[in-house]
Amino acid sequence: MKQVYAVPKSLQPQATHYCPGCTHGIAHKLVAETIDELGVRDRAIGVAPVGCAVFAYDYFDCDFQQAAHGRAPAVATGIRRVVPDAVVFTYQGDGDLASIGAAEIIHAAMRGERISVIFINNAVYGMTGGQMAPTTLVGQKTTTSPAGRELGHAGSPIRIAEMLATIPGAAYVARVSLSSPANVARAKKAIRKAFDTQLSGAGFSLVECLSTCPTNWGMAPIEAMEWLEKNMIPYYPLGEFRTPEGGASNG
């Protein structure tokens, strides 16, 4: 029989610690598939965040380094400068990248650092127990916003992709969703394009992946995917915000 779908070779065969239905696993597979397709496993170096994905170094079958909270782009910068032919990527959640690591991601993009960033936005702090994140939607209930995020008190959720798309050094910036087969197929194309952008030498690339957190949202996995499509996509529109070929239409 012909194999239609195989587990990517750049993933370790072990089970992950992620909760049932968490879309981190889907994002891991898309990154691993991209590394497989490009045939760069022997020179791929990932940088893991602090957060639910901290154990990414146990799940990917390629070199990995774990960074201090939010500092993955800084560590990736060091790796890039020391190992020029490495394929360098960071894998970061929204608490890591959009809150404590906001400065690092902005300046890595400003420098046009030749790294690819996989940014998982699930609108909540996962590992620490579902607290409000910079990406939490207005009105969304979390353990630290039990009545829902209040605009006047906490401000508006941060749109990382749009913000980074204003930076000339950011060669490729896209937002995708992991909430349906069609959206996952688009997410795969975007992650491939981010790695292609790095390999072509064009500069910094980032793919923001809208993801679910069934446990902290208090929903079943499918219900969480439906909630994402109904509530997150209207505020976080999908698409490419900056591309290497975009020229003047960028930003």
Partner: protein
């Protein structure tokens, strides 16, 4: 060999494969696996079209798909 091969030990019973299967040929078993979850299984192989959607959507890399 089955068209859809489940690595049952890795299945966390999230049922994403059941939901997105266009032919509704996957079901959750009544029994539980070593992790304590009800694992997914191919209940109707005859109507499976080997589209691969279950494999691509499985967050736990527990599914591989084959076409005769």
């Amino acid at each position: 060999m089955s068209k859809v091969v489940f690595d049952e030990a890795k299945c966390k019973g999230c049922s994403i494969c059941v939901h997105f299967c266009p032919k509704k040929v996957i079901q959750m078993a009544d029994r539980i696996n070593a992790k304590g979850y009800h694992p997914a299984y191919l209940a109707d192989e005859g109507n499976c079209i080997s589209c691969g959607i279950c494999g691509r959507m499985c967050p736990d890399a527990a599914i591989e798909v084959f076409k005769p």
